[in-house]
Amino acid sequence: MKKIKIASIWCEGCSGCHMSFLDMDERLVELINKGLEINATPITDLKIPDDDTDIGLIEGAVATDHHEEEVKMMREKCKFIVAIGDCAVFGGIVTMRNYIPTDELLKRGYIETESTVEGKIPTSPELGKHLPKVKAVNEIIKVDYYIPGCPPSADAIYYVLNEILEGRKPILTGDFLKYE
C-alpha cells in the first residue's frame, strides 16, 4: 500500500472538525498502520508541511490576513486540498458577523462587555488583521474536495481518507452528507 502524507490547519473554526477526525477512534490507528502519515497538524509538532504532502485538510473559514497566508501556504505544499466542515466549505457560523462592521464587534468584545475594566481594542502587529468579511476557503484558493457538516461525521472523514488510501476516488452520498 502506498503512503499518504496528510497535513492540516485550523483557521476560523472551533476545532470541532479536528475532533471529529479524532472521533475515528480505532480506525485512525488502522489508517496510520495502513500508510497514513500525519505531517504538520495542530496535534503534532511540525510547524510547516513537507513539500511533498499529499492531502491538506483545512478546517475553518478565512477571517484574517494570517488565515489567508496559511491557506495559500497549504495550497503550495499539498497536492490535494480538502475543505472540511461548514466553516471551510461555506464560511459557516462566523459569517454571522459579516452583517456587523468589524470595529463594532471589537468594541463589544474589548470595551463594552460588562466584566471588562478600562478596555481597549488590541492592536499589536503580532496579531492577525481582520478581513472586512469572513470567507469560505475556495474564495481564496482552489479547493479539490469538500466534506460538509458541522462537524462532518467521523464516518464521512474515514470514508474519504480510506478511499484515497485504497486508490479510489471518494464520492460522498446519503448519510455522509450533512448540512446543519
Binding site: C14, S15, C17, V94, R97, S115, I121, P122
Partner: protein, 474 residues
C-alpha cells in the same frame, strides 16, 4: 542589540497562539510574550437571536468542550425562564458533562501533553506526538483512544451526537435516557478507571523522577478559583464559586450570579484574550488560576472514593498548601478524569436517570440569565440579557481558558528564562516553552496562527528597532 525568537504556531494545544521571546546580548531571555491570536465575535453577533437558540449557537465557540458551552448556555436560559429544572434533567446534563470531562482530560494527557512526558522533551519533533506514541507504545496508545471514545460515546448515547449536541433546552432536556444505553456505559466504567490509573502511574513516576523540575517548572504563587459543593467538595456542574488566595485561605464562596462583583477583565494590547482577575484584590494582585490545578487546590475533598484517595496524595505535594508548579496540572487532570468516571457510575445507578420527567415549560420571566459551569479547563460563564419576547440584547462570556491567561504568560516567561540559552538554542528548549502553555490545556479555539512564517525565526534588531539580521530554521 536585541534578538527575537518566534514560536508559531504553538502546537498540541487547542487553538492558536504564538510566542515571542526577546534575548539580550548575552543570549539570556529579557522578556517573553504569549500572544493569543483569537477573536470570534460571538458576543456581538448573537444579539438579536431568540434566547432558546443560544445553546445551539454557542457550542460552536469550541469543538473540544462544546458540551460546556451547551450546558452553561442552557443554564442561563433556565434562568431567563426562572425555573429550577427537574432532577432527572439535571442528572442527564451532568452525565454528558462527565463524558466530556473524561474525553477531554484523557485526550489531553495521552494525546497532546503526554508525548513530552512519555517520549521526552527533546525527542525528535517528527515523532513527538500521538502517532509517535502509537509506534512507540501501541498498547498505551490504544487505551488512550478507547478512553477518549468512551467519553465521547456517553455524549453520543445520551445527547444523540458527539460534537455540538442540541440536547439541553431551556427548562431541561429534549430526550429521556434508555436502559440499554445505560447498561452499555456501566459495563465499561471499571476498565476505563484502570486505564486512567495507568496514566496516573506514568504521571506520578514522572514527578518522582523529576521532582526538582516539577517544583520549579512554571511554578509561582497565584490565587485559585473553582466551583464547590456546599460541603467544600469538588463540583463541576452546579455549585458556588470559591476564591482562594495564594496562601491557601478561602477568601470567599459566592453565588455565581454575583460574578460581576468579583471578576474583572483587563485588556492588553498584545493579546486577543482578556485577562480576568479577582476584583476585590485589584490588578495584578488578584490574578488566579482555574482548571484542574485551581479546582483541586480550592476543594477540601472529592465526593467519590477513588478520586478522593488520589486527592489526598495531591494535597501532600505542598503540605496542604496550594500546589504551584504548572506540571502538576497533568496529575490533577487525571484525578478529575477518575472523578468523572466514578460520578458517571453514580448517576447511572440512580434510577431517576431513566425518568421521563425531563422538561419544564415556562415563559420568559427574567431580563437576565446567568449560567456557570466548570468546563474541563475551568470556570465558564455565560450571561445574557433579553427583552420581554426573549430576544437577546446583550451577551457577556468569560471562557475557562481566559482565567489562566495571566498564568500562561507568566509560565512562558518563567520557562523561557529558566531553559533558554540564546547562544546554544535547541528545539527542545523551545518545546519546553510550549510545554509550559500545554500544562494549561488551553482552548483558544479559532483564530489564526502565522504559519506563513517559518517555524523558528530569530531576528536581530538594533536599538532603533531596525531588523539587521535573521536566522530561519525548519
Amino acid at each position: 542589540m536585541n534578538k527575537k525568537i518566534t514560536i508559531s504556531p504553538v502546537t498540541r494545544i487547542e487553538g492558536h497562539a504564538r510566542v515571542t521571546i526577546f534575548l539580550n546580548d548575552e543570549g539570556k531571555v529579557d522578556e517573553a510574550y504569549l500572544h493569543i491570536d483569537q477573536f470570534r465575535g460571538f458576543e456581538k453577533f448573537s444579539e438579536g437571536r431568540y434566547f432558546a437558540e443560544m445553546p445551539i449557537i454557542t457550542p460552536r465557540i469550541c469543538g473540544i468542550c462544546p458540551v460546556s458551552h451547551h450546558l452553561a448556555s442552557a443554564k442561563a436560559t433556565d434562568d431567563i425562564l426562572g425555573v429550577d429544572i427537574p432532577r432527572p434533567a439535571k442528572l442527564l446534563r451532568e452525565l454528558i458533562h462527565m463524558g466530556q470531562i473524561i474525553q477531554s482530560h484523557s485526550m489531553h494527557f495521552f494525546e497532546l501533553a503526554g508525548p513530552d512526558l512519555i517520549l521526552g522533551w527533546d525527542a525528535d519533533p517528527r515523532i513527538r506526538n500521538v502517532a509517535g506514541l502509537i509506534q512507540a507504545n501501541p498498547e498505551l496508545a490504544l487505551k488512550a483512544v478507547k478512553l477518549r471514545r468512551f467519553g465521547q460515546r456517553i455524549i453520543e448515547l445520551v445527547a444523540g451526537r458527539r460534537i455540538h449536541p442540541t440536547f439541553a433546552i431551556p427548562g431541561g432536556v429534549n430526550q429521556a435516557f434508555d436502559p440499554k444505553s445505560r447498561d452499555e456505559i456501566l459495563k465499561g466504567i471499571d476498565e476505563m478507571i484502570s486505564y486512567v490509573e495507568d496514566g496516573i502511574s506514568i504521571a506520578t513516576k514522572y514527578i518522582e523522577d523529576n521532582k526538582e523540575v516539577c517544583d520549579k517548572f512554571a511554578s509561582f504563587p497565584t490565587g485559585y478559583m473553582g466551583l464547590v459543593k456546599d460541603d467544600g467538595s469538588l463540583e463541576l456542574y452546579d455549585g458556588k464559586i470559591r476564591f482562594m488566595d495564594k496562601d491557601g485561605n478561602v477568601v470567599k464562596d459566592f453565588k455565581d450570579k454575583y460574578y460581576l462583583k468579583y471578576i474583572g477583565e483587563r485588556v492588553e494590547d498584545w493579546s486577543y484574550l482578556k485577562f480576568p482577575y479577582y476584583k476585590p484584590l485589584g490588578w495584578p494582585e488578584g490574578v488566579y488560576r482555574v482548571g484542574p490545578l485551581g479546582r483541586l487546590n480550592v476543594v477540601d475533598k472529592i465526593s467519590t472514593p477513588i478520586a478522593n484517595e488520589h486527592l489526598k496524595n495531591f494535597k501532600k505535594i505542598n503540605d496542604g498548601k496550594p500546589v504551584e508548579g504548572s506540571l502538576y496540572f497533568h496529575y490533577a487532570r487525571l484525578i478529575e478524569a477518575i472523578y468523572g468516571l466514578e460520578r458517571t457510575k453514580e448517576i447511572l445507578e440512580d434510577p431517576e436517570c431513566l425518568s421521563k420527567d425531563v422538561l419544564l415549560s415556562g415563559k420568559v420571566s427574567n431580563e437576565e440569565g446567568i449560567g456557570v459551569i466548570e468546563a474541563p479547563r475551568g470556570t465558564l460563564i455565560h450571561h445574557y440579557w433579553v427583552d420581554e419576547k426573549g430576544t437577546i440584547e446583550k451577551v457577556n462570556l468569560i471562557v475557562a481558558t481566559g482565567h489562566n491567561n495571566w498564568a500562561m504568560s507568566k509560565s512562558v516567561e518563567n520557562v523561557a528564562k529558566g531553559f533558554i540559552d540564546g547562544k546554544n538554542l535547541t528545539e527542545g528548549m523551545l518545546n519546553r516553552v510550549e510545554g509550559a502553555i500545554r500544562c494549561y490545556d488551553p482552548c483558544l479555539s479559532c483564530s489564526t496562527h502565522a504559519i506563513g512564517k517559518m517555524p523558528l525565526l530569530i531576528e536581530l534588531y538594533d536599538s532603533n528597532g531596525n531588523l539587521i539580521n535573521f536566522v530561519k530554521r525548519d
